[in-house]
Symmetry: C2
Subunit: 404 residues, 2 copies
Amino acid sequence: MAAQRLLVDVHSHVYLPRYASFLRSRTSAPRIFSRPNPNPLANGKSEERLLILDNEPSVGRPIGPQYWDREEKLKFMDRHGIDISIISSANPWLDFLPASTAHELARELNTDLETYCSTAPSLASAPSLKRLYGFGLLPLVTFASMTSLLDTIDQILTLPHLRGIIMGTKGVGRGLDDPALEPVWHVLAQSGLVVFLHPHYGVDGQAWGEQENGHVLPLALGFPFETTTAITRMILSGVFDRHPTLHVLLAHSGGTLPLLSSRLASCIAHDPIVASRLQHDARHYLGKLYFDAVAYGAEELGFVSDAIGRAGAFTNPNPNPSEGEGVVGHTANSRGVGLEVRRIVGSARMLFGTDHPFFPPLEETERWMSVVENLDAIDGVDGWGQEEKDAVRGGNALKLFGLS
Amino acid sequence: MAAQRLLVDVHSHVYLPRYASFLRSRTSAPRIFSRPNPNPLANGKSEERLLILDNEPSVGRPIGPQYWDREEKLKFMDRHGIDISIISSANPWLDFLPASTAHELARELNTDLETYCSTAPSLASAPSLKRLYGFGLLPLVTFASMTSLLDTIDQILTLPHLRGIIMGTKGVGRGLDDPALEPVWHVLAQSGLVVFLHPHYGVDGQAWGEQENGHVLPLALGFPFETTTAITRMILSGVFDRHPTLHVLLAHSGGTLPLLSSRLASCIAHDPIVASRLQHDARHYLGKLYFDAVAYGAEELGFVSDAIGRAGAFTNPNPNPSEGEGVVGHTANSRGVGLEVRRIVGSARMLFGTDHPFFPPLEETERWMSVVENLDAIDGVDGWGQEEKDAVRGGNALKLFGLS
């Protein structure tokens, strides 16, 4: 019973020491480099900065031990009352590497992350559990061989503290709707591993214009746009029709998919090219996905929960229409289930996260504002009772990652 | 009292005959061209197609009299019980033209649209009202002179049936956060004209990948992404701090701004470049905007209403912080106002729309599915009473456009 009250962070990143060293050895993005610290209080000491993308605003961002040091992670967890974190490598993962290097480094980093987790302290209140679990990496890079991908999934399945994989949106160079990935989805669906889909590239930077807005536009908009595009392309390609047991967890509460899902369903129903392709109305698929609760607002979380909770109303009871007989969105009736029920049903697929070590406070504080906002948001959702809030804070994660 | 029950469509497009002829004379996008109709039932007759963008999927879309013929517009309105439509030119407006042509054509099209509206039938139930009103065009193109823009606003103010302007996202070539547009916002804010902000470009098409998905991705995702980016850039540039009386109506229920507004507020508060720039938390500005109700789902509309309705909780009572003293989102408390109240408050800024003549049904039907979906959505919003639904269907538009 006590285990149901744990606080579990499913969105927590690390640059493992081996990876950070690798980034320090590079001379172009992604890289970690040193420069004189411009802060007068630094007394001329140098600072390390992380540059993820070429032409990144503000010449990247300052980086420190919280990005690689496990003790810093545990201190952060203690300070915020987080019992367990499911740790994932931060973007850009291995995306920029040639296939052979990516395969080797993926295997090494998976082993590193297993050690990072397995040698971590156990949870005092539930000693059978560790405080750290992880998402492994696959060598998802251009020209990756299927053998290397399947080999790495096999490796992850032998590492008991790795319970999923984190994945960007490029696949093997042509996105996640690439038919070449079919064997990967097949094996992942059978394995029970959770696929954490996370953005990195945003959208073409020209969209952000010429004014100086720091990292706001790529982070606040570009990241959610990228995730939304990737998952929509997966839906449109039929991945979830073919692999309904695939567990995909979407970063940042699914980006904008929940708010665009009815528009998406309508656009599909109005387009002769795709109207008859899918087994279900687009809104059905939200009920197959998982969403972190990293949206910074209670109204947002409540709505995401509604969009998940209504999915069943858009499930086609006869999912194999004859040729030319499309799934027509408006025949489904989301009104059949009341608001209260929808909102509770949806909560079962939402999971607390922090995005640590990103979004540090601008000034030293005991608790990070980004974490407080996400905890307050869960607490403030109208229509969620104590049971749903506890589930979103930890219970759902314990189930999804098989931690009990 | 009866006027409060009117159905008013604020999102209804036209390619005026003069504009359609102009597109027919062009040999590159945007253009209207003829080709043999591939449908066997057409018996070898040709069809006209509209190609808005180069490399558009499906070689554009079929186009017919419903795009330019006023009688077709009125028939569509009658068939769907729409009393009044506020007509706007459809994208890409004048974006592709040299400045001198754009100025001349804007003036001509504004006069055409005034005639289109002023010679339309009056409303039987309220004979002081016409059935058609309009949004004019400004020559917002690269190298447009400020004189030509202000001259065209002056012209529109002399045309009594034009109650606003429709605007894309490019401004005079550098977007809507371009300081060069300051005099335009100033005059528009003073004029009371409604600015209908509408997408055209989407995002860079590479994001859509290589699979054939018709128009689904650019329409379902690209359009809302573009609108979201444009309005966010306007907010970040301080337009609404300097011009709080500006009336901006966002297409497609604001794209994804409502769902990303708390994330946006958090990203601003965590970015040293912008944290101290704005007078208010980002969520405040949603309470200054108007949103069409073209979102195809009741849950979506309910959430947009929540996001508008909570805006007041994020208004900074002391909007001129001293240097370095940023607006900190989490000090505002959106919990201070209950769900029911927020949802009702927000409805006052939402307005029914159809997006006609786009999204025609794939097969002949008496009523268009796209319209039925949007009407059903309004009817299905939990927490809206008859009064709010009537307001969204028409009452809010009558007020915003000064129709009484």
